[in-house]
Symmetry: C2
Subunit: 204 residues, 2 copies
DNA sequence: CGGCCTTTACATACATGAATGTATGCCAAG
DNA sequence: CTTGGCATACATTCATGTATGTAAAGGCCG
């Protein structure tokens, strides 16, 4: 092959990342060679080493396409306002998260991060998951605290406990779904469970 | 080295499995060589290939030392009887599970299975996790059904929903704890959360 | 606008190291 | 004296990283 235009080069870069997602998901990160990724994208390893420094660099670029801070999800939810019904805001934010995660790219990359890659080079997926979990739990605590101040939580039920319960619930559901997403829809089952849990925790 | 007695041979086999646990946990299954395992046990690869066919075989043997069927945990709980207070029986069974998992060997092997190994040879950790999850959810459903028949569950709250909520809660907690067990005690925090959740679901 | 030159976007070829599996050696247990 | 329990040596495969080749893109200059 000969040289492509800038747009074509950017396209092959994306194609390589797409291929990486699929092969990583199918065979695991550690057991896929850069050769396999390149061939799956119709290229050779030359293209990979041109666009990325090495496997870790490619992996980071793949992650970079799906950064989804949890705080952002909350901020997207403006209706209804956080101040008047925080529990409903939490529910909607979680629903938004579910909807994003059901997009193939988000689902694949998170499945790879959680279930198909080990510590590897300077990349530690467990640290990343810890950061995600801490961020989520922090945000949940804030908003459950807000809910408690307005008397929306069952009495004797601390915001911290509510946040931890909800975070564990979400984490378990998340892992189950990532393991085999064909088994159930995240938004459908997730909404049911979250709604049921919020009903249990809400002040009667 | 020269030949050892049968007991010594069995001991080196266990030593190899112990070494495998530690190195797998530290560096991930895919990125540890049989050489590293052997050296960590004070042996050479010759010993490994004598006791095990290959890496997958060694891995299976490592798993074999910690098989913990969930049903067994329930059956161990005879006090109080399942028939008179099923919710309490569930709580105790879960507590038993937590206590087992906090033993170093159980914790390490499950951490490896969940967070430190990818699909690999004829071994698929995700299938194993699915089987564990299905088994757990099935048992939980049975016992929540029993609880519902005795009117111990909040009205309008189906046993299936209760089981799914509890399973997601346990799964999330499990994953969080396996990621970094120094952060909190599984029995302590786990007991709090499970107790809180059962209180929420219990008929008032 | 056409010729030239440099750089880009890869493909190909090569060197290296690491891990595996097997074959063989060796010494004591039984 | 035979076989079990390893250690050692060897051959092979495989992935990586780099070096080199190359044809076209995109500019510069006349």
């Amino acid at each position: 092959m000969a040289r492509r235009t800038k747009a074509e080069a950017a396209a092959t870069r994306e194609a390589l990342l797409d291929a990486a997602e699929e092969v990583f998901l199918a065979k695991g990160v550690a057991h896929t060679s850069l050769e396999q990724i390149a061939r799956h994208a119709g290229m050779t390893r030359g293209a990979v080493y041109w666009h990325f420094k090495n496997k870790a660099d490619l992996f980071q670029a793949m992650l970079g396409r799906v950064r989804m801070p949890f705080q952002e999800l909350i901020e997207e939810v403006t209706e209804p306002s956080l101040e008047e019904s925080p529990l409903e805001a939490i529910r909607l934010a979680i629903l938004r998260g579910f909807e994003r995660l059901e997009q193939p790219r988000y689902r694949r990359v998170h499945a790879i991060l959680v279930h198909h890659c080990e510590v590897f080079g300077d990349i530690d997926p467990l640290t990343m998951q810890n950061e995600m979990a801490d961020e989520a739990c922090g945000a949940l605590t804030d908003y459950f605290t807000c809910a408690a101040r307005q008397g929306q939580l069952r009495e004797g039920f601390s915001p911290a406990l509510a946040a931890e319960l909800m975070q564990a619930l979400l984490g378990g559901l998340f892992h189950d779904w990532l393991r085999n997403h064909e088994q159930f829809s995240l938004v459908t089952k997730g909404s049911e469970l979250v709604e049921a849990q919020l009903t249990l925790m809400r002040h009667p």
